[in-house]
Symmetry: C2
Subunit: 141 residues, 2 copies
């Protein structure tokens, strides 16, 4: 017979609750049940969960993973859509990095201007109170 949920979880580095969550949202297909109502997983479940977890570790969101699983199920299709999803995600990652680097620079500047002493004279507090002391926009998003 198949894997119990705990075995599947362990084999994929997932928490048991997360496996159940994936089933609940329809990301992982429902497993057969044993006579005692335990879920019983197949190697196909194992593969799919590994795919999901790997994609998650690469930062794909669940909607993207749904699409990717769907595509992976149609091997005859052109992979342009796969490429589009991956490239879109890469772009999002790059945007995030760019925003974080702006924050990093601004925080470095702020912290570098603090010479110790009292809060009343602290450049960090002053800068937080007044964005015009910032160099970059570190905008919103």
């Amino acid at each position: 017979m198949g894997l119990k949920i705990g075995e599947l979880a362990q084999a994929t580095g997932t928490k048991v609750e997360t496996v159940r969550y994936y089933e609940r949202i329809g990301l992982l297909p429902e497993a057969e049940r044993t006579s005692g109502n335990y879920r019983s997983y197949t190697p196909a479940h194992l593969d799919q969960l590994n795919f999901i977890r790997h994609a998650r570790r690469l930062g794909f969101d669940i909607a993207d993973i749904r699409s990717l699983l769907d595509l992976a199920d149609q091997p005859e299709r052109d992979c342009a859509e796969v490429d589009r999803i991956a490239s879109g995600h890469l772009q999002a990652v790059e945007d995030k990095i760019a925003r974080l680097v702006l924050l990093q620079e601004e925080l470095n500047r702020m912290i570098g201007q603090c010479r110790g002493g009292r809060v009343g004279n602290c450049r960090i507090i002053e800068t937080l109170a007044d964005h015009s002391l910032c160099r970059s926009d570190h905008a919103g998003g």
Copy 2:
């Protein structure tokens, strides 16, 4: 009299609902009410909300902002704690950047290996299915 919530929101680039949310969680002090039960904000509220929004735009979480507001209220104190909070946040930002750069590299590799064609031969799908095709750990966290 003071500012209405919509005016305060506009003046600080905040949504009205967000202002009420900050009040609800105790981040922004409660405003006086007019006879018609409208909130009426003072310049002190304006300053504090600007501080909060700026800190948020710099990525500080609400717990940190609470501490920073608390410290800003005690100008005689040593600013070491301020420094500690800001440096801790900077460190978190740098960790995030490092993780995202790993993802970026791995995604770039994946995408670069796709030569078009069918999903059944797509390197992106293959890599998602098998982490051993990855170069880095792009770990968890």
